[in-house]
Amino acid sequence: MGDIEDAEVILVVGSNTTENHPVFGMKVRKLARMKGTNLIIIDPRRIDLVDDAVLHLPLKAGTDIALFNAMLNVIIREELYDKKFVEENTEGFEELLKVVEKYTPELAEEITGVPKDDIISAARMYAKAERASIIYCMGVTQHAKGTDNVKSLSNLALVCGHIGKPGTGVNPLRGQNNVQGACDMGGLPVFYPGYQRVDVEEVKRKFEKLWNAKLSAEPGLTVVEMGHAAIEGKVKALYIMGENPVLTDPDLHHMEEALRKLDLLVVQDIFFTETCDFAHVVLPACAFSEKEGTFTNTERRVQRVRRALKPKGGTKDDWKIIAELSERLGYPMPYRDAEEIFEEIRKVTPQYAGITYRRIDRVGIQWPCPTEDHPGTPILHVGKIARGKGLLVPVEYRPPVEQPDREYPFVLVTGRNYYHYHTGTMTRKCKVLNYGAPEPILEIHPIDAHIIGVSDEDMVKVVGRRGSIELKAKLSERVKRGEVFSTFHFHEARVNVLTGSQELDPVAKIPELKVTAVRIEKVGKGE
């Protein structure tokens, strides 16, 4: 995040940066306004950053690949790509060429709804810049083809040689404060800590030795698959630490059904969340302010979390609860404190090996940090691509699974707003935040609203193929015609009742959250 200052052009894709990563958003905005960094925004909505951008490509939701491929098309056709870099550092250019050839700006205009001249300008501006950076967020990944979207973006960066230098790269912004850490720690069905695969025999053996236990080589289930498995009766017990899937997971009715079927649901949290309603046991945990430990931010910076308060009431550290349970199951985990756990993490996670609590006392360190005298790694892939040569993987555009039709004419795009976080369990208990966004709203274009007879503040019913919710309409030109937007922060209007979970991204297993076909019905007048 620090080196973004060196970029001449920043391509912001599917990231409402100023609302979802406000402090980083402020920085991007400052660069655009005060330094003159050119921002290109690729987002269906007219997000706030558009005000400071030189170009906004308001594509139809879910048509990203067609747009990126058309940009590649322009860049290759006009020979704006970095030939030397492509030759020395990438493979697969010929194959890529074959695929993007047909994505002319004209075709892309047809698919995405973005004027072709703007696509061409964006491509030129990105390619011609000395240094250009891409930042993306859930708008890119939360699709059934999220992985393809990211590949497509990295094709752009590779072809232009915008990688491995300050002010370049393809940079994801993580939605939650420790997503990076949870992944690093092996909170994933196929990885041990440090992205070591569970199905590699020698890795498994290493961990069996380290942990003194017999381990399974079979990759586990992802969260959405867990839901399906529970309904099928294959999963009987679910232990949830600090998550609230009843609001976050797509196709909520489906998830609720799954939770109801369980023989044992344990929920460990700081509040009695919507998910607790389905639990058999609820365990009270400490809040972050009562914990010692570390978080790893979106730029892989491992930072210290410190205890400012005594645990409230009878709450305990999350790890301590697990450790005590573990002991009862015959596997004692006699950790004295968080630091002792971290010392073990260092031992099993090569990327963290050089990080100690003492070293990150004042300033966090960015992994990979293999040894205690290593300064950390602010920019990945410096000088060379991590896997030797960057592979250009051509990807084809496929229309989103959910298409609007006569019955469901609108496309619902979901996201977050500035004032709330995730399911609102924390933020909705804060005065200033609730004042900023007191209730769920549905953003709808004024012309669309007019056509269906909805005025500002009217209550509307959003009906999708899997369910419906009611909330207030807000007329806004931030959304395009034919698209509506809402957030998933509010239990009063659980947007994920509408979203689908059948179609998952084949690699990352991410459901289609951004594109859902709905219809809007007016139910009441606004006061």
Binding site: R33, M34, K35, G36, D51, D52, A53, V54, L55, H56
Partner: protein, 647 residues
């Protein structure tokens, strides 16, 4: 007669003097407006009192009140101190001040003057300190006397050296401060209050403001023009919706504007903002007048004026009818009849004669400058076979002709000017760029004869000149050196020594009074021609002049037309009168020692390399990046100052 003056430290005290002296530092007009005598003037450099009925303490109090009004509150000494200064002066004016109060006032005024951020705080204490210094006896006499001061009548206005000299009266310090504060959109709104052509003026203005910039006395003037361009380009580059004032409901009155040049467009824009419906009649196919046809693309890319800025004007409901020639397609008097008012802004578009043998023979290769530029801007080379070019003249049109010549592939380009480089009226920057691009200059030369062969120009005979006594413009008059004739071979000879008004639009209208220079005669206070209801401004009134004046006068004419149609006697506003008063007093003092330690050089624009740019029409100058604009804006000293008259 002046009783007392302390202007610029020159103290002239004629009180009780038998033989009154006149101050040299200031020439104060007698009247502010007809019938309104100026009894005293308080301003940034001191005080001038002309009438003994003026009570200096009362006027100082009112001046302090003006300061309190104008102080922006953005620095401690002036923002916080102005109130206190007023309180102390109020005590003095009521006759209840103590000696301590007077001392307190003196030290406070000195503090504000020394430590304030901008010139409001730095100059407003000056007249107050002068009153304390030169009327000390009187003030002492009133200490605790309970005798109130004599209340007078006053008017005041704020000015600045740059602002005062701007023909469009742009509030320059304000728009620069807004850029400094990263309020780029606000800055453009400020500019638009006074001109609808920010992108154009930001590129081609001759910028009288910059030669009146106090920063020039430190290390180089603020680049006011480029900052204006920056504000305009920011909106264009970010595709922002132009921020315009709310248009009032239609007044239901129609106005015809003749000519879509800078004057006509400006007049139309400000009339539309007042709720009038405006129709512009334009002879050619494109808007912009001389700004479009006379200024090459490398200085003003076509889109800026003809598309972007004109689109905004059209967005206000102004209709432009192209290809309509007044005096031929429609008669002026018909417009007069059909519309509630008519504005004429036809410019001065025909080339002036050189008075040289052969110039009216129609030789191939003899092309008047305006015509030459017109053709090129329309995408054609007026004489493709001719490769050698001689341009005569020293103004900006001449510069445009020589620099454009390379860009249409001419190889040999000469410029002939009868005086020396120092006297050239063209923008020095233009001259410098032309030199860089390889134009050959022949100073102190004048054409005497055109050489032809088979009806084609083959050369020009020139005579050397020397500079004699200064003429009324203050420039030394060139005198031919007998027997110094010589020949310069050329295919193309372009006279660019000035333009005249094409009066054909007056066909069928014999009542229109003209000046001896064959321009329209207008009342300078009302812009009205000799025909009631017909107004005019721009080059067709002033003769060939700068764009910024045509645009500014076009806007002022819009105000007068509005007054006329509302049944108010048209005339200048008090602000305009103050502008005139201030320009007589002179706001800029080039001998001032500016108390700024300097060290911040003016930020120049990046230019294309001369060898690249001379062959193409791409814009030569690359505008500021925001960071550069902000840094440059920080150099502005915000030289606002208050002038107050007693009447």
């Amino acid at each position: 007669m002046i009783l007392f003056s302390s202007w610029q430290g020159e103290v002239v005290d004629n009180r009780n003097k038998k033989e009154p002296k006149s101050p040299k530092a200031i020439a104060l007009p007698e009247e502010f407006k007809p019938g309104e005598k100026i009894k005293a003037f308080f301003g940034w450099d001191g005080i001038v009192i002309c009438d003994d009925s003026v009570d200096p303490v009362d006027m100082a109090l009112r001046y302090a009140e003006a300061m309190l009004n104008e102080s922006c509150g953005k620095c401690t000494p002036c923002g916080q101190g102005a109130r206190f200064m007023r309180t102390l002066l109020e005590k003095m004016a009521k006759g209840v001040a103590t000696n301590d109060d007077i001392e307190g006032l003196r030290s406070l005024a000195t503090l504000i003057k020394s430590t304030s951020k901008c010139s409001i705080g730095q100059t407003a204490p000056v007249p107050i300190l002068h009153v304390l210094e030169y009327f000390g006896e009187e003030i002492k006499g009133r200490v605790s006397s309970k005798k109130p001061a004599q209340a007078g009548r006053y008017r005041y206005a704020v000015t600045a050296p740059c602002l005062n000299v701007c023909p469009s009266s742009l509030d320059i310090p304000k728009y620069i401060e807004e850029i400094r504060e990263v309020r780029f959109e606000d800055s453009l709104s400020t500019i638009r209050e006074m001109t609808c052509l920010p992108g154009t003026l930001g590129r081609v203005c001759v910028r009288p403001c910059e030669s009146n910039c106090r920063r020039a006395l430190v290390e180089g003037s603020v680049s006011i023009k480029w900052l204006k361009r920056f504000a305009a380009d920011f909106e264009m580059g970010h595709r922002k919706k132009p921020r315009l004032p709310q248009i009032p409901p239609s007044i239901g009155k129609r106005i015809a504007v003749v000519g879509a040049g800078p004057a006509g467009l400006s007049c139309a824009f400000y009339l539309a903002l007042k709720g009038y419906s405006v129709t512009i009649f334009e002879k050619s196919k494109e808007p912009g007048g001389m700004a479009t046809y006379g200024i090459p693309d490398y200085r003003l890319p076509r889109g800026v004026l003809t598309r972007y800025e004109v689109d905004i004007i059209k967005g206000l409901g102004v209709e432009i009818r192209y290809g309509v020639e007044i005096g031929k397609d429609i008669m002026l008097m018909d417009l007069h009849k059909d519309y509630d008012a008519v504005f004429i802004g036809v410019g001065a578009q025909t080339s002036a004669k050189m008075g040289v043998e052969g110039e009216d023979k129609g030789y191939r290769g003899f092309i008047p400058g305006v015509r030459y530029l017109y053709d090129i801007n329309n995408g054609m080379d007026p004489y493709p076979e001719g490769k050698r070019v001689v341009v005569v003249g020293g103004g900006n049109v001449a510069m445009d002709c020589v620099r454009t010549s390379f860009r249409i592939g001419k190889t040999d380009v000469h410029l002939v000017y009868r005086r020396s480089r120092a006297e050239m009226p063209a923008d020095p920057e233009e001259i410098h760029d032309a030199e860089e691009e390889g134009v050959l200059f022949h100073f102190l030369c004048n054409p005497t004869r055109i050489l032809e062969q088979d009806g084609k120009v083959v050369g020009v005979e020139l005579i050397r000149m020397e500079l004699g006594e200064p003429d009324q413009s203050g420039r030394r008059r060139p005198v031919p050196v007998p027997g110094s004739e010589f020949i310069l071979e050329t295919d193309i000879l372009i006279p660019a020594i000035g333009q005249a008004v094409d009066l054909s639009f007056l066909a069928g209208c014999s009542d229109m009074k003209l000046t001896k220079w064959k321009t329209l005669e207008v009342n300078p206070d009302t812009f009205e021609t000799s025909i009631k209801g017909i107004f005019a401004a721009g080059d067709c009134v002033t003769g060939p002049d700068v764009l910024v004046r045509a645009a500014g006068d076009g806007r002022k004419a819009a105000d007068r037309i509005d007054q006329y149609l509302r049944g108010i006697e048209p005339g200048p506003s008090d602000e305009e009168r103050f502008d005139r008063l201030f320009s007589k007093i002179k706001v800029f003092n080039k001998n001032e020692k500016v108390e700024v330690a300097g060290g911040m050089e003016r930020k120049e624009l990046h230019k294309l390399d001369p060898e690249v740019r001379k062959w193409i029409f791409d814009e030569v100058e690359k505008g500021y990046m925001p960071s550069e604009a902000i840094t440059e804006a920080q150099r502005c000293l915000r030289c606002y100052r208050i002038g107050m008259i007693a009447y």
